[in-house]
Symmetry: C2
Subunit: 255 residues, 2 copies
């Protein structure tokens, strides 16, 4: 049986999604450990994509195959996972998927959200999930990013481009062309949310896009300067990589 | 100069508000350490009251006296504190108070809030701030606390009573009579917030009140049974002490 799950995690204390060698401290590693306990032998979990160390997920999607013969019920699988997973990982939904469903290969688009506290009053309860702008940039008293400038720059980024300049990867074996459907900005008090929806994102791409857009908003570069990054593919020309705590994978769409 | 501050803290990793012997890991201890660094000698911080280990504050109030002679500006004091305090303690406001102002002795009323997740879907991002009901009580599938019953019980608790039966203290040197102005219930999705406003609360009182009200709501005792606890002052007759993570001191009023 192919089981599709939607899960939430607080990435603060994990080394990202993907299992790496002996490191058990990943989301994938934790899931596989519980499933092995449940089934009696190893089960591979496929995620829709990796999330970096310290990045959160509101709705990551994954799938795994359980052996035929036993009468698994998805609701029991979900309960079992939630009972044995640590309390910073939670399976929200589990359903039986068509045998050929693959959470990474079939993903049509993903939405990521970056949260920023732009004011001086930081909230202690959201410090692990909202990045304080003042920790990354020297701000003049009362300075806030200019959203109009950021929207203008975002307009150059939307669409299909080679985003090589917005990735930390050193070697590129595969295509670095991606399509960003939309970049939206929403202010809630002093918290700014930037949402990115696209067919896929390169390593560190959202964090570099966010750093670059913020530099535009703070007057450190022009909106047009992002075009040069797209044209040259030169990482040096892009902005800083923002810290992981503000970033969350919101959802993955398959239709 | 007498400085009044309003502060927020995530109590998760602290041993409560009050300094104890050599333990530095308290909110009061952290504040005093930073103020000593700022002034060059010890400064005593008076809180409106203690919060227990693991309990949070959205608006704790405290005050301390800075030596005359130096031209302290409250805004600078606030900035200094926020610069050197750990990021789970944050001073929201600082103002100069009348010399005789004392945050504990002058407090008129306090509001505490207890947050409960009553559904099965727990949110990983609020796990440190919302107590999962299913961790404290065995619930039948789909069982939710009956708010009408809880409101009825709360009606017996509001007013002026001897709350000795609702405290974990073994010895009572001082009066255990307190006045609860109001107990209110608010549901937001599956999260239940119970707010208590009163002139003061005994050690563990809100956590025991909450445990008792939940037992009423889950049909484990009658609403009228809370009267017996008030009349006998017998802790054994009251409900369980709920865990600290759901509890926060919301605000303190001085008028």
């Amino acid at each position: 049986m192919n089981v599709k799950i939607i899960l939430q995690y607080d990435g603060s204390r994990f080394d990202g999604w993907q299992k790496q060698g002996n490191t058990e401290n990943t989301i994938q590693g934790r899931l596989e450990a519980v499933l092995e306990k449940m089934c009696g032998y190893p089960v591979e979990v496929h995620g829709s994509g990796r999330t970096d160390r310290g990045v959160h997920a509101l709705g990551q999607t994954a799938n795994f195959h359980l052996p035929d013969g036993e009468n698994w019920k998805v609701e029991q699988v979900r309960s079992y996972l939630n009972r044995y997973l640590p309390d910073d990982i939670r399976v929200l939904e589990a359903e039986q998927a068509p045998e050929r469903f693959h959470s990474r290969l079939n993903a049509k688009s993903k939405t990521y959200r970056y949260l920023l506290e732009t004011g001086e009053k930081r909230d202690v309860f959201s410090r692990r999930y909202v990045c304080a702008l003042g920790k990354c940039f020297s701000l003049a008293p009362g300075q806030r990013p200019d959203l109009a400038r950021m929207r203008e720059a975002a307009g150059f980024l939307e669409g299909t481009h080679d985003f090589k300049g917005f990735s930390s990867l050193k070697k590129f074996k595969k295509s670095t062309v991606r399509t960003i459907e939309s970049i939206t900005f929403e202010e809630n008090g002093t918290v700014l949310a930037i949402e990115y929806t696209g067919d896929g994102f390169l390593y560190n791409m959202i964090r570099i896009l966010t750093g670059t857009l913020l530099e535009v908003g703070l007057g450190l570069r022009t909106p047009e300067s992002v075009r040069e990054i797209l044209e040259t593919g030169n990482r040096e020309k892009a902005g800083k990589t923002m810290p992981p705590e503000g970033l969350a994978l919101v959802c993955v769409r398959y239709f």
